[in-house]
Symmetry: C2
Subunit: 435 residues, 2 copies
C-alpha cells in the first residue's frame, strides 16, 4: 500500500504533526521496529502474528477443505462461518474482497430473527459450516453451531460431511472433531484472534468458497517485505506512527472510510483491530467505520465541522471494474454524459480529502492497486503491522483485551445460574427509567 | 420507547451528570420544548419534520405504489432504491425492521463492482425502481438511476412500468416523470432529507415492497404523543438532553449499539441524523455504529478502557422471535442446554451495560416493545425529536449541513471540467507519499 501523510502535517491540519516532531518520532519508530523484529524472531506472543504468511500451512488448509468438497455431492454455494470477533471478521474481510464461487455468510451474533432468516435462505444441501473458536467454548459460536447442525439434520443432510472445525488443541470443538472424524485445522499459537486473518481462521472459509488463498498469502508476504526501520520508508509504520501522533494531539477518533464497497468488512476488521489492540489505559483511538462515497452524505459534516477529535483515512484502489453511465436525456445532467461510475467515485474521493484539508482536519490517504486477493492480503498485513507499531508507541500491550473479560464472565455465570460478583452487579443495578 | 438514564449520572459514570445539574438542565428542556412546539405550529423549516406522521398523505403513497404493482406482470421481489444519505437510509431502516414481501436494496454508492453485482443478482422482470432526490440532480442517484434504466432495457422489461419517482416540484427527475407518465410523489416541504423517514422518501419503497406503512405511521404518532416539556417525563428529550450533557462533559463520541440485527440500518440512520444535525461549529458528537452482541468482541474493550470520550447506547427489544439452541453433547457446554438464542442475546446486553457501569463509563439503555413496523416508526420519531432537542441545547441549527457543500461543488465542477476554487485546491494539493 501507499500512504500520503501530507494531510496530517501541522502546516495543513489541526491536530497535525510538525515536520520536526516527525523526525523525532522516527527515532522511536526505529526502536519499535527493532523490538518488533526481535519478537518475530523469537515467535513471542502477538509478534508471531507478523510471521503468519510464511508460517501458514496452506497445504493443510487445502487438504481439509478438499475433503469437504469431495464429501458433499453438490458444489457448495454457501459457506456458513460460526465465529465471533476475530473468528469471523478476518474471513468476512477476505471473502468480500476476493472472487469466490460460494457466498461466505458469518453467524457472528446470537439474534434469533437473523439466524433464522439466514438458514431459511440457504440451500442447506449446498452449504457447508466452518466453526471457529480457539477455546472451543465461545458461547455465541457454539450456540450457532448447534443451531446449524440441527438445521442440517432437519433438512436431511449429513452435517459431518460438511463441517470443518478451526480450533485449539483441546476443548469441546476439538473433541467433537475427534469423535465425528471432522476435518480440523489449528489456530496458530501466539497469534491473538484478531490477528488471525492470514491463518486458517481467515483462510479456511475462503478456500472452501473457492477463493485464491495463495494470492492472499502472497499479498501478506509482500506486506512483510515492506517493513523497515523508518516511517519515511515503510507505509505501514507511517500509518501507525501518524495515527499515534495525531491521537496524542487530540485525534482520539479514527474514521476509516474506504472508497470501495468490497472493503466495507475491512472497515469492521480494522475497527476490531484498533479498538481491542490500542483502546486501553485510557489511550488509543475509537475507530469509526464509514464508507465512501455513501458517508459523504452522512458523516462528512461532522468530520469537517464537528468536534476536533477525528482523523479520517480514505482507502482507494487504483484499478476498478468498468461500468459506464448511460447518457441521460436531460440537459441539466449533461455532466454525466460519457461518465464511468468508478471515475465518479474517484472524483468524490479526491473531493472529500481536499475538503477535509481545506477545513484543516487531518486526513491520511491510502492507495492500493486493486481490491483483489493479493490486495486484501497486503492491506491486512500492513494494517496489522501499523497496529503493532502504534501499540509500541502508545506503550500498551497490543495483544490482550482485558476489558472484555468482565462481560464474558457475566454472561457465562448468568447462563449457568451461578452467583458471582458480576451477576450480583447486574442484579443490584439501579435504573431510572423515563417512560 | 423507554430510556434508562441511571448509567449516565455522575454517581455512576465519568463523564456523568450530577442530579442537581439535571434539574437545571430540565428548565432548558422546557424552554426548548416551547421553541420546538412553536416551530411545529408554524410549520417552520426543520421543525415541520416533527409533524410528519400526521401530514403524510398515505393515500397518495398507496395509489402510486398500487399503480406499479398493477402495471408489472409479476409480483415484485426486489425494490431498488436509487438515493443517497437521507434519501436511502430512512427506507433501508424501515424496510429492515418491517415484514415485507420483497427485498429493498439501496443503491447509495457509486461503486461499479457493487452496482454490477446487485443488478446481476436481481431478477429484473420482478424488480421495481424508486428514484429519490429532492433536487432531482444528485449526481450519485442520477448515475445509478440511469444504470438501472439501462439494465431494465437490456433485460427487455419496460422501465416505465416499474419506476416511481420521489422528488421536489421541479428538476430533471420531475421532468422525467412528466415526460414518461411515471407515478411521482413529493418530498415534503420544510423537512431536511435525513428527517424524511416518515414521508414518501422512507415509506414509498416499503409500501412497494408490501410493508405495513400504516403501522409505521401509527408508531410515529405514538412518538409524537410522547413529547412533553420535561426530560423526566419524555424519553425522547431524556435521550437528547443526556447526550448533550454528556457531550459537554467530554463524551464527544456516541456509540449506538442495538441488540438486534434488524436495527443495524437504524444505527446508520442514527449516525447520519446525529452527524449532520449536531456536528457543527466544533460541537456535537461523532456517532459510532456498533451492533450487540457482535461488537462485544470488537469495540467493547475500547468503550470500557480506551479514551474517556465515549457514551454507549444499547437498544433492546422486549420481545423477540423464539429459536431454541439444540442441546450439545459435551458436558463443558452444559450451560447451553435448553437455552433460547434471544435470551442469550438479552443476557449479553445486560452484561455489557453492567460492565460499562462497573468501569464507570456512561451508558444509556433504550428499550422498545419489538422490532416491527410500529416499533421502528416510534423509534425513528423519538430519535428525531431527541436530535432536534439536542440541537436546541447545543445552540446549533440542526437542519442544515453546510460542511458537505464544498465536496459536492467540487465533484460537480470536476465532472463538468470547470475550474473553480474547489478544483484548484484539488489540483494544487501537495502529497507526501510513503511507498
Amino acid at each position: 500500500m501507499h500512504v500520503d501523510i501530507a494531510g496530517a502535517l501541522a502546516e495543513r491540519a489541526a491536530p497535525g504533526v510538525d515536520r520536526s516532531s516527525l523526525e523525532r518520532l522516527d527515532d522511536r519508530v526505529a526502536d519499535a521496529h527493532e523490538r518488533i523484529e526481535a519478537g518475530r524472531a523469537d515467535g513471542e506472543f502477538g509478534y508471531a502474528a507478523l510471521n503468519l504468511p510464511e508460517t501458514t500451512d496452506i497445504d493443510a488448509i487445502r487438504s481439509a477443505t478438499d475433503r469437504i468438497k469431495e464429501a458433499t455431492k453438490h458444489p457448495i454455494k454457501t459457506v456458513l462461518v460460526a465465529g465471533i470477533g476475530g473468528s469471523a471478521l478476518g474471513a468476512a474481510t477476505l471473502a468480500r474482497a476476493v472472487e469466490t464461487d460460494a457466498d461466505v455468510e458469518t453467524l457472528d451474533n446470537v439474534d434469533p430473527a437473523a439466524t433464522r432468516e439466514l438458514l431459511d435462505a440457504a440451500e442447506l444441501n449446498r452449504a457447508a459450516l466452518v466453526c471457529v473458536s480457539r477455546s472451543g467454548t465461545t458461547v455465541e459460536t457454539l450456540a450457532n453451531a448447534q443451531i446449524v447442525r440441527g438445521a442440517f439434520d432437519d433438512a436431511g443432510v449429513d452435517w459431518t460431511d460438511r463441517t470443518l472445525v478451526v480450533t485449539g488443541e483441546s476443548g469441546p470443538l476439538h473433541r467433537l472433531a475427534d469423535a465425528e472424524g471432522l476435518p480440523a485445522l489449528g489456530v496458530p499459537e501466539g497469534v491473538p484472534g484478531r490477528f488471525g486473518a492470514l491463518s486458517p481462521v481467515g483462510l479456511a472459509p475462503v478456500a472452501l468458497a473457492g477463493g485464491d488463498v495463495e494470492a492472499i498469502l502472497a499479498g501478506g508476504e509482500s506486506g512483510a517485505a515492506s517493513l523497515s526501520g523508518s516511517l519515511f520508508e515503510c507505509p505501514a509504520y507511517a500509518y501507525g506512527a501518524l495515527s499515534y501522533a495525531l491521537a496524542q494531539r487530540g485525534a482520539t477518533v479514527s474514521a476509516m472510510m474506504p472508497y470501495a464497497e468490497a472493503l466495507e468488512p475491512f472497515g469492521e476488521w480494522f475497527a476490531q483491530l484498533w479498538a481491542e489492540s490500542l483502546g486501553k489505559d485510557g489511550v488509543g483511538q475509537v475507530p469509526q467505520r464509514a464508507l465512501g462515497a455513501t458517508d459523504q452524505h452522512s458523516q462528512l459534516q461532522c468530520y469537517r465541522d464537528g468536534p476536533e477529535s477525528t482523523m479520517v483515512t480514505t482507502v482507494r484502489p487504483k484499478h476498478r471494474p468498468t461500468l459506464s453511465v448511460p447518457s441521460p436525456d436531460d440537459d441539466d445532467l449533461d455532466h454525466l454524459r460519457g461518465s464511468e461510475l468508478g471515475e465518479l467515485l474517484d472524483l468524490e474521493c479526491a473531493a472529500t480529502t481536499a475538503s477535509l484539508t481545506a477545513a484543516e482536519r487531518p486526513v491520511l490517504r491510502v492507495e492500493i492497486d486493486a481490491v483483489d486477493a493479493r490486495g486484501i492480503g497486503e492491506l491486512c498485513y500492513e494494517f496489522e503491522a501499523a497496529c503493532v507499531l502504534a501499540g509500541e508507541l502508545f506503550g500498551v500491550n497490543a495483544f490482550d483485551q482485558p476489558a472484555v473479560e468482565w462481560g464474558k464472565d457475566a454472561t457465562r455465570a448468568q447462563l449457568r445460574g451461578e452467583q458471582t460478583d458480576e451477576t450480583r452487579t447486574i442484579d443490584e443495578r439501579d435504573a431510572r427509567w423515563i417512560d
